[in-house]
């Protein structure tokens, strides 16, 4: 047993850390790994583009991809290291990761032509992707999606609606899961296909959906006779469900992302408590109740981080990680909700203040986290859906 990285990996980590130090403005508060702040604010989006270009220039987009498609053919370990470090520091990474996930999916299911056309621009940081999954009647029950794709010569014609789609407003392209067989005698999962859709296509309209944080990170997208070339179907006709499951599986680090993002927020809060005095002139961190609650969150984050280290290690060894990933997801989301809650409480009456206020503390980060973390036990698989997966795939519990 050895929890250390190899010297080569350690050197890479150092390089990544130096890169991030140079990249981030001073006193950077960080963004959340779900893209909800990064994808809703023009300034943050511009920074996201800058990060993307700099990562591409380093050759760090698609690290483990084949060189012929713009990759570096390095190990998964390095991709994980880069990812976790970026998330820990709160670098905008969500949109980049959505593109990388798309690249992974195209490399797995795409035709040679699709690989050559779509993957190198991702590695070069030239294009932003998002994913169209949820619909008004297809949330956790994704297979119930109704957006229709009907064949018409060399095209599929898309009609319907996607919703709660993160990052669509700034994206160039979207993966779209659509119904290609609606026969009542066909299982819902067997009538879905996957399409790579240019969001500038005629017939697409979009409405941004503001969230309770005040940020419009979601969009609903309406497809009205949108013509998509057949060459842009990913995988086989009606084989979209396995493409989707693969995509979801590659997103399985999300729980670990939440943990690493939480480490930054906890450090921020602890720093505040070490530097700020209460009304009696005592440092906040000397209050035994505050100390204990902060330490408890530190314990949870550390234990969760260890679970994440194990998850990534299992992934690099080619082990099945769907159940372990589904353990980490609710764990991480829950911690961030408790952290946001405690953060606002520790700030007292300053806690609920808007970030624009001259009296605001920690630039409103704790208030934002309190609101933003609600999403974290829902997006990317609700806690309940995750537990179902742990119970069936991980623990082997019966369905009936």
């Amino acid at each position: 047993m050895d929890f250390r990285f190899t010297p080569d990996e350690q050197a890479f980590l150092k390089e990544v850390q130096t890169f991030i130090d140079q990249l981030l403005p001073k006193d950077w508060m960080g963004v959340d790994p779900d893209g909800h702040n990064e994808q809703a604010d023009e300034k943050l989006h511009q920074f996201d583009l800058e990060v993307r270009k700099k990562l591409a220039a380093k050759g760090w987009l698609g690290l483990q991809w084949p060189k012929q498609y713009g990759g570096q053919e390095t190990t998964m370990v390095k991709r994980f290291m880069l990812e976790q470090e970026l998330i820990y520091r709160g670098v905008p990474y969500w949109a980049i990761s959505a593109a990388l996930m798309t690249g992974d999916m195209i490399l797995q299911f795409g035709t040679e032509e699709q690989k050559q056309k779509f993957v190198p621009p991702i590695a070069h940081g030239e294009v932003q992707w998002c994913v169209g999954m949820s619909e008004p009647d297809a949330g956790s029950d994704l297979a119930n999606l109704k957006l229709r794709a009907t064949e018409d010569g060399d095209f599929f014609v898309l009609n319907g609606q996607k919703t709660w789609q993160t990052g669509a407003y700034y994206a160039d392209w979207s993966i779209v899961y659509a119904r290609t067989d609606a026969s009542p005698n066909v299982k819902k999962q067997k009538g879905i296909s996957t399409f790579l859709v240019d969001l500038k296509s005629p017939g697409i309209t979009m409405r941004r959906i503001p969230q309770m944080t005040g940020h419009p990170a979601f969009a609903e997208i309406f497809y009205d006779n949108v013509r998509v070339p057949k060459a842009n179907m990913l995988g086989v006709l009606n084989g979209g469900w396995s493409v989707c499951l693969f995509g979801v599986a590659t997103e399985k680090s999300f729980g670990y992302w939440l943990i690493n993002s939480g480490r930054r927020d906890l450090e921020l809060l602890i720093k505040y408590c070490r530097e700020t005095k209460d009304h009696e002139g005592k440092l906040i961190c000397e209050d035994p109740l505050v100390r204990s609650r902060l330490a408890q969150l530190a314990i949870e984050l550390e234990v969760g981080r260890n679970l994440g280290i194990r998850l990534n290690w299992m992934a690099t060894k080619g082990m099945t990680i769907i159940a372990p990933a589904c353990q980490l997801k609710p764990f991480g989301g829950g911690i961030l909700q408790r952290l946001g809650n405690l953060g606002v409480q520790v700030l007292g009456l300053y806690g609920p203040l808007d970030e624009e206020s001259k009296w605001v503390r920690l630039r409103g980060r704790m208030k934002y986290l309190y609101l933003g973390a609600v999403a974290m036990t829902i997006e990317g698989g609700t806690n309940e859906a995750s537990r179902n997966t742990v119970a069936s795939l991980g623990l082997g519990l019966p369905r009936q």
């Binding site: 309940e384 019966p398 009936q400």
Partner: protein
Amino acid sequence: MDLALSEEQEMLWKSARDFLASKVPKTLVRQMEEDEKGYVPELWKEMADLGWIGLPFPEQLGGGGFKFLDLVILLEEMGRACLPGPFLSTVVLGGMPVVEFGTEEQKKAIIPKLCKGELIMTMALTEPSARYEAKAVQVEAKAEGDHYIINGTKLFVNDANVADKIIVVARTAKKQHPEEGITLFLVDRKAPGVKIHLLKTIAGDKQCEVTFEKVKVAKADILGKADHGWAIVKKVMEWAALAKSAEMQGGAQQVLEMTIQYGKDRVQFDRPIGSFQILQHYMADMSIDVDSARVSLHKAAWMLSEGIPCRKEVAVIKGWLDEAYRRVTAQSHQIHGAIGFTKDHDLELYFRRAKAAELYFGDADFQREIVAQELGM
């Protein structure tokens, strides 16, 4: 990075699992809860012959030369089996400080016998104040010529009823800082003036009140340096918290597995109860508690084995398991229903042990304070 057990560790783990499954049925566990000694001498000898008691000690002293991580793997299986007896006390509270801080004579006199199963040890640290703190050490040892005379009461001493040697933590000088002026003594349990009174606990383990009435100890029997004993205690507390965590981990793992099996077997409303979503979610949460603990336990033990400072990591895993083990056993009771809280079922053994283990070598509040300090608060 490699998080898998080595081949040797796999073998240790498997042989421990098999041995304990065959030699320690739950009937024996229950019998030992009522027994005055609380362990089976023949079994103790067999464990010594297997090399378990000497596992972490140097080969030249008759030990196995293994690392703390290996000991943790063994302790996990002991916790799973609810193995009764003074293993943790002898190895971690007794043998380890002797090897680390003892003189050559002390090591040679104690460790080979200990490895052979011929010597049982423990440490007498806590007192009626029930705190694991330096200022709680009030039992006095006064120097008189070549000797010290110990007077006072130690409380909650593990396995003192069967220990041959007790490491007694005593105050030898009143200094400004409570951590100064503490000395450790190797005391024979049978020395004149030592009295042992067995306490009954929720876990059915053997905690003792140990009184010292003018107990004479030679200066040669000081462990470490006079007045500087607290540094040793701090180390032992770290080892003991980690060792206890390993037992707790094994217990939690066993409870999780028992519960999943029960969920598959128990039929109500014409279906296995493990098919009900709410119980599935309870078990999913239990698995998160247990799996996150295991990797954290191994990380802390690995760091200790590699000589990497791990005060925080040990506090993290003990603090986590203090609550997680109890949570897991309580949730398991809810899933097992009525049978779980009867003496006909094994589960209650774990529920009782979880609560006691939570308090031994620092409860969650104690561990959180260490974590807070380590984070600079």
